[in-house]
Symmetry: C2
Subunit: 345 residues, 2 copies
DNA sequence: CTGAAAGCGCTTACAG
DNA sequence: CTGAAAGCGCTTACAG
């Protein structure tokens, strides 16, 4: 069923109920309608009621484009992440969304798929919405992107990782330290042949940072550091399972594997179970993220817990503070991480 | 570090490079700039080059608000879903996003949290962006919402479920039939005391439809239909595990449980493993969705596979067809489902 | 192929 | 408390 009501609807040239229509119906000027709707305290109760009724009767929906253009301000916040397949980003987005929505801001989602060139295109397109501020995953961007954002002059939060050199504000954690922390745990437990399995490490430089931290810790302990397995496909439990088997075949001396994330690690545990490989006796398994699934598998997964939801909320909160002109100090926040030692190591 | 460059940046009254600025720099009229950027074939190569260079030098980003207002058309598509915690919606969104982005449309995300009143608020707010079309999860809405959308006059696709009474277009599957299909499978396998476990069934009426279909099939087979466990919290594997134990305690005669989704069912399998409850010998377990994790757990999960990603792509595709004025027949598509019989039943 | 004029729907100072 | 005027940055016919 198509619908052809009220106004002239030529499918493209469709124009809906406007401020002016409401004004006519309420018998006031357009400007009074605008005020009655946006700053009701400035309008007499009587007229306000008339306007509100007229708006309701007409099914008036304010045109945000016009409002934004006239006021040179919007309630749009682009949020640009490298992936949606990873639950981690979903949780961050949920934290952000909750805060934004509470204050009447609309999230606009961009997905770079770990491609900095796509990020550049997205940033440039989204700035065309004259957003009030922006949230961007990561601290690494093309020079062009950095320049664009630096010259933009509105609040910006870079999230996920913590480091120097942010453009405006930064809320994240050190992936290098997280990697080192897990490696030290494995070393303390007595493992001596520790491998690392990651995916898409060329583009996912945060996973690479965890790997680097891990390698650094191994080196410090005088252990071999050449057991790094880098896979091309996106992380899934199934891939983790296959990677476990492949790694054990290629390097039977391995006694522990640190997976770049919990998706892979959980898959490895499930695969080990299928193949009757004792974990952690034959091979210890560790992950990164702290997904709840890790507590349900047997053995339960040792992992590093990152405060994703909280990071999202915090990023949105400092952004909105800056947007409303309030001071934000410090400009950078390390949300940290914690090591959850469970049964798999 | 804050940035204060170029233009006057009073943080709110900030205005950026405009068409006019580019025109001045290129030594042409604004209208030529607009054309050079939007319909380059209408402009002489020489001027076009001048314009493009000026735009690049100035870092010009077109103001979409102004463009939208002037042309009465946007490239915005709101996508409204009931939840982001559920991977299912993420996959649908990915499918949609891929198609939209390819055609230069921007997805605007709304999350109702299974609350029809919130849906109404969101729809009304998002229509203010004068979107080119809309994608909305579900066929049930408040009367107010239906009226608003029916009067709106632009293309709309309702997704996830298939049924009569869509407002404009519909791409989905029958949850009632899916539920019945799984129940019949369990009956064929010889199970006679079959329970159903679902969460938030008051609001998640698609889960309720699966339950209804399941109950109908049991009734047809002359089996008891009173083993329905409705939980209040959102679905997680952990909750599924707890629900399994609770159900077996309350109704020890149960020999099979159909979980409303794979999140719950996978958790139940993992929990059974921990508690050494043989699956399917003591209790058969089935799910709904076809998440890949179901193939990794032991025993592998019997489930119903829904084509989420494909549904998302299809919905976006028919929407864009309608937006560009092409005919779409039929207006409703049943994407179907398939029963994946694995080890857990 | 190029430009002057009008207008999209709203808000912002500015007067009353 | 209320309204007339100007303008936000762009595009759309309409003339040349």
């Amino acid at each position: 069923m198509t619908n052809d009501d009220s106004t002239d609807d030529s499918s493209q040239g469709y124009r809906s109920v406007t401020l002016k229509n409401v004004a006519e119906r309420a018998g006031v000027s357009p400007i009074t309608v605008s005020r009655a709707l946006n700053r009701p305290e400035l309008v007499s109760p009587k007229r306000r009621a008339r306007v509100e009724q007229a708006a309701r009767e007409l099914g008036y929906v304010p045109n945000r484009m016009a409002g934004a253009l006239a006021s040179a301000r919007t309630h749009v916040i682009p949020v640009i992440v490298p992936s949606l397949s990873n639950v981690v980003f979903i949780e961050v987005i949920q934290g952000i969304q909750e805060v934004l929505e509470h204050d009447g801001y609309q999230l606009m989602l961009g997905n770079t798929e770990y491609d900095l060139q796509r990020e550049q295109t997205l940033v440039s397109a989204l700035l065309g919405w004259t957003p009030a501020g922006t949230i961007l995953a990561g601290l690494r961007h093309l020079d062009e992107t950095r320049a664009l954002l630096a010259g933009w002059g509105r609040p910006l939060v870079e999230i996920m990782e913590y480091g120097q050199d942010c453009i405006d504000m930064n809320v994240g954690l050190s992936h290098y330290q997280a990697g080192a922390s897990m490696a030290r745990h494995l070393i303390e437990r007595g493992y001596r042949h520790i491998g690392f399995v990651g995916t898409q490490m060329t583009n996912d430089y945060r996973a690479r940072q965890r790997c680097d931290g891990h390698l650094h810790a191994l080196e410090e302990a005088g252990l071999a550091t050449h057991h790094v397995f880098a896979l091309a496909a996106p992380s899934t439990p199934a891939l983790g399972g296959r990677a476990l088997l492949a790694a054990l075949q290629q390097a039977p001396e391995l006694d522990a594997i640190f997976f770049a994330n919990d998706d892979l690690a959980v898959g490895a545990i499930l695969q080990a179970q299928r193949n009757a490989i004792p974990v952690p006796e034959r091979i210890a398994i560790a992950g990164f993220n702290g997904l709840s699934l890790g507590e349900l598998v047997t053995p339960q997964l040792t992992t590093i817990v990152s405060p994703r939801y909280r990071m999202g909320k915090m990023a949105a909160t400092v952004l909105l503070r800056r947007i409303s002109g309030l001071p934000v100090t410090p400009r950078t926040v390390d949300v940290g991480f914690s090591l959850a030692v469970r049964e798999s190591t």
